[in-house]
């Protein structure tokens, strides 16, 4: 019975173990902060690409779309090189801190938020453009209106970004180092426990992670439904 992963998962959740709690809390903190930062940068970026025509716009769109599939280890390696002692940002001493993990996840999530919001905003712009020009709106003035009107779609996009951030292991492992009590998160713990042969615990952690991701997706679904009913 003790070797059953579900049993481990449930007992992990029931007797709230301080070590586990800190791991889950750090996972959430890092990913939520990364998604927040990525949203503040990515949504205006996506909207700007949708709104303005400039040379190389096609290239920017292709790049953003391609970067949605950026392998986490590549993002991790890039941040590692930037933050390592000899790197250009080595002075900051961020390597192997949660801060480094946030930066790596921002790089992973930003293209998703920017590319998907660009698509949504462009679609809305097609519908609204004549009315906007008729109202005498500048492109800069259109941006907040479009982002607000796309709010429910953007929330779903945000949750997709959060899914990517909380589920990846390569980047946080490389720049965080999986240091117990400092940079250990759900995914790196699973890798560690699997390596140690503690499969029930690894699987139990996996189930907890899956439950969190399920929760996030259920949230996305509910928000989408609510939006459809309320705004037509």
């Amino acid at each position: 019975m003790e070797n059953n992963a579900f049993y481990v998962a449930i007992s992990l959740l029931l007797d709230v173990d301080a070590a586990l709690f800190s791991i889950v809390a750090l996972s959430m903190q890092v990913s939520l902060l990364a998604v927040l930062v990525a949203a503040l940068l990515g949504f205006p970026l996506g909207a700007a690409v949708a709104l303005w025509r400039f040379p190389g716009r096609g290239g920017v769109i292709v790049t953003l779309n391609a970067l949605m599939g950026l392998p986490p280890v590549v993002a991790g390696l890039t941040v590692y090189l930037l933050l390592s002692r000899a790197g250009p940002l080595g002075e900051l001493g961020l390597l192997f801190t949660p801060g480094a993990m946030v930066i790596a996840q921002v790089i992973l999530v930003l293209p998703i938020l920017a590319a998907l919001s660009r698509q949504k905003v462009e679609e809305l712009l097609g519908e609204y453009q004549e009315q906007f020009i008729s109202l005498g709106m500048s492109r800069a003035r259109m941006m907040p209106t479009l982002l607000w009107d796309a709010r429910f779609a953007l929330l779903t996009i945000l949750l997709a970004g959060f899914g990517r951030a909380s589920a990846e292991v390569g980047a946080v492992m490389m720049v965080g180092g999986n240091i117990e009590g400092v940079t250990r998160v759900m995914t790196t713990s699973i890798v560690l426990e699997t390596g140690k042969g503690n499969l029930p615990l690894a699987l139990g952690l996996g189930i907890v992670l899956l439950a969190l991701v399920m929760l996030v997706n259920a949230g996305a679904y509910l928000v989408g439904e609510l939006a459809r009913r309320r705004t037509g």
Binding site: I133, D149, G232
Partner: protein
């Protein structure tokens, strides 16, 4: 909404109605000329009804006048030199994904109306167009007729001096058409210049002060409504009024 007899046109509108001048305005698409060089002046009281068969260039002419499109050649000139405040009501009303009142407030905000007075002005406009009870309904859940009235209320709140309407009633039932026509009359009585396209000859008879007739991308005639309906000058207009299928 005030009840107006839609068969009666006011004898005169306030004299500050802006005058619109088209000076050899032409518009070319990718391969062909969509509007041949056209010159006319809208100086009379109006309302001006732009008529003609589908594809004649009516909507295009409206968009050029309103500034949604830039002419390929020629100039659009307003009487007092600068572009007067203006609004446009589209065939398919464009509504933001917000409540009815929030749609009007947004238009006021864009036009830099002070924050304090927006809400009151928006609700006044909704009330005038019989939409007070659905102020907080999501705009896109309103019926087609209600959405078109909301578009008119949004335009009203901006107090435009010129109002363009692009076949505003083509998708509406008779009751909704009556409401829109009454609203157009009300704008007209306030001294707003009305420029409206339609291909409904009965609607044009009810509303028109003067008629601008187009076919095939050419302005065929611009005459007072009575003259147009009783003695059309161009062969195309004669055929149009006679109900022939012209292109």
């Amino acid at each position: 909404m005030t009840s107006l007899n839609t068969n009666m046109l006011p004898l005169s509108a306030p004299s500050n109605t802006p005058t619109l001048n088209f000076e050899e305005v032409a518009f070319c698409g990718q391969e062909r000329t969509l509007l041949a060089p056209s010159s006319f002046t809208l100086a009379s009281v109006g309302p001006t009804l732009v008529m003609g068969p589908n594809g004649a260039g009516k909507s295009l002419l409206l968009r050029l006048a309103h500034g949604l499109l830039t002419p390929s050649r020629g100039r659009v000139i307003w009487s007092d030199g600068e572009r007067p405040r203006q609004a446009m009501v589209f065939q398919q009303p464009v509504m933001l994904r917000r409540s009815a009142v929030a749609n009007v407030i947004h238009a006021l905000a864009v036009n830099k109306v002070p924050h304090r007075s927006r809400s009151r002005r928006a609700l006044d406009a909704l009330e005038r167009f019989g939409l007070a009870t659905c102020a907080h309904t999501p705009a896109r859940l309103l019926s087609g007729g209600q959405q078109q009235r909301l578009a008119l209320a949004r335009a009203w709140a901006l107090s435009p001096r010129v109002l363009f309407l692009d076949e505003p009633t083509s998708a509406l039932d008779p009751a909704a058409i009556k409401a829109v026509e009454a609203a157009v009359q009300e704008f007209h009585c306030q001294g707003t210049r009305i420029v409206m396209t339609t291909h409904d000859i009965h609607q044009a008879r009810r509303l028109a002060g003067d008629v601008l007739f187009l076919s095939g991308g050419h302005v065929r005639e611009h005459t007072p409504a009575d003259t147009f309906f009783d003695h059309p000058a161009s062969r195309e207009a004669q055929a149009f009024i006679a109900g022939e299928l012209i292109e």
